[in-house]
């Protein structure tokens, strides 16, 4: 990997993480879902101009746990976006579609992708920030 990826800051500990590099943050009755800096770096290697498109769902769409809700596309690859939480899409971050650079600049706050109203108050088991860091560290070997 390039030197750019060696200097990233720690991931926020106010949310949960998946092995497919989504993050889930509880926000009142809903959850916000985004993708991690690692996922974005895999797509564009720190070159935000290499992100070319993000496809997000319509509000109102019902999603099962693990279902694909959209796609993110870089010059050379297309990746599916998965929801770790079943529920209904109540809002999408349409600003992303025209400003993909938001994802590399601020993946944790402005870079959220969808807001979902979960079907269940009990969220599935996911990694905390420390566990996700360990998961990434093991992935490198």
């Amino acid at each position: 990997m390039s030197q750019k990826s060696a200097t990233r800051s720690a991931r926020p500990d106010d949310r949960r993480y998946t092995e497919s590099h989504e993050w889930v943050k509880v926000d009142g009755e809903t959850v916000l879902i985004g993708i991690t800096d690692f996922a974005i770096n895999e797509l564009c290697n720190g070159n935000e101009g290499d992100l070319v498109y993000c496809d997000l769902p319509e509000s109102g769409r019902a999603l099962d746990q693990g279902e694909t809700f959209g796609e993110i596309e870089s010059v050379k690859a297309v990746s599916d976006l998965y929801t770790p939480v079943a529920g209904e899409v109540v809002e999408t971050n349409t600003a992303i579609e025209d400003h993909l650079e938001i994802l590399s600049k601020d993946p944790w706050n402005q870079g959220w992708l969808v807001r979902i109203r979960p079907n269940s108050k009990e969220l599935p088991k996911m990694m905390d920030a420390a566990a996700y860091e360990r998961f990434l560290a093991e992935k490198k070997h």
Binding site: M1, S2, Q3, K4, N45, N47, E48, G49, D50, V52, Y53, D55, E71, E73, V75, K76, V78
Partner: protein
């Protein structure tokens, strides 16, 4: 994974390195689309040392290669290079390659990912021919300089060849950074004016550095394989695994310029199968342009009048055309340039138009 002799340079330039055909190669040094544009407007430097380089000697070398290759090797004039393929008896490609016949050898440049398969195929069919097959991949580095400024830059490092007189798909030997007898060819995979240098492995870093120094005033920069793929797609050049593979023959891929049915060539492996395909082609490779936000991608469906009739072979955003482009296989009678079509992206349809290939070329000027 193998490293090319220029690996340390890629690390120093901050490249993103990925596995490609068994080699650790730079996919990009910076934003891919900016690398594409730099080659179109200025010049780019490429490490292609992963490409397979095979030397064939022995008195039967031309007859042997005319048996295995689709193009007519005996007819290639001295100093010229031709595109050809290795095909199986069913006409399906094993690989595509460039052929450099010379007075005492024929030099072949094949795809990295197919080098081992090619060598095995060549040795399997060697019986009865007086030939020696020598894998020179590890002895030679391959460096390309491509772009409108490539001649001025390459002239600084190559002595003994008048590059202005070296025609497209011609080669000659010159002195490169003081190293004598270096093969220099006017070839490339970008659709640009450009040159490829075959230098001894131990001189690779020196040549690389000297080209960068000589090209600094022309804004040369190292360019990765990511941009190279978009450049070749804009230039309408095929990539094994996309436009051609074990189920996509060269005739329907539009590569008949690399296939000879001349009677003097005699029988060759795949000839009768490809003659049959030529007599009754069912599909053709077309260019696809789309103004929609999504780039065509290999495997996406292509629809005409609502019905999916074909599939995308390659696709990319094109900074040169400022639109998304691709290639696709469609039925012969539906592939006329100008035809309105749709790309099927997992059920979502996006408007597209068929067009002639290539999308871009400067090579023959």
């Amino acid at each position: 994974m193998k490293n090319t002799p220029l690996h340390s340079r890629h690390v120093r330039h901050g490249a993103r390195l990925v596995e490609f055909g068994g080699w650790e190669m730079p996919v990009q040094y910076g934003p891919i689309l900016e690398e594409v544009t730099r080659v179109r407007t200025h010049a780019g430097l490429f490490d292609l040392s992963h490409m397979g380089r095979v030397r064939v000697t022995g008195k039967d070398r031309v007859a042997y290669l005319d048996r295995l290759l689709t193009n007519h090797v005996a007819k290639i004039t001295a100093g010229s290079i031709r595109y050809a393929l290795f095909c199986r008896a069913d006409g399906m490609p094993i690989d595509d390659l460039l052929v450099y016949p010379d007075t005492d050898e024929v030099f072949l440049v094949v795809n990295a990912s197919n080098t081992d398969v090619d060598l095995a195929w060549m040795r399997e069919h060697q019986k009865g021919f007086d030939v020696v097959i020598q894998d020179q991949t590890d002895e030679l580095a391959m460096i390309a300089v491509q772009g409108p400024k490539s001649r001025e830059i390459t002239e600084h490092v190559v002595k003994g060849i008048d590059l202005a007189k070296l025609g497209y798909y011609k080669f000659a030997y010159g002195t490169v950074c003081g190293i004598p007898n270096v093969r220099v060819s006017r070839t490339g995979y970008t659709g640009e004016l450009g040159y490829e240098l075959y230098v001894p492995t131990n001189a690779a870093s020196r040549v690389w550095d000297e080209v960068l120094t000589a090209g600094a005033m022309h804004d040369i920069a190292p360019i990765g394989l990511g941009a190279r793929d978009t450049l070749r797609l804009e230039a309408g050049m095929p990539l094994y695994g996309h436009e051609i593979d074990a189920t996509h023959d060269p005739i329907q891929a539009g590569l008949e310029f690399g296939v000879s049915f001349a009677p003097e060539k005699g029988d060759w492996i795949g000839r009768s199968a490809l003659e049959a395909i030529r007599a009754r082609p069912v599909r053709r490779l077309v260019g696809v342009k789309t103004d929609g936000p999504r780039a065509p991608r290999q495997g996406y469906g292509v629809a005409v009048s609502g019905a999916v009739v074909g599939a995308v072979a390659s696709g990319s955003p094109s900074p040169t055309l400022s639109t998304n482009i691709g290639t696709a296989y469609v039925p012969v009678h539906l592939g006329e340039p100008g035809t309105a079509a749709e790309i099927d992206i997992k059920g979502k349809r996006q408007a597209a138009t068929f067009c002639a290939l290539p999308f871009f070329s400067r090579t023959r000027k």
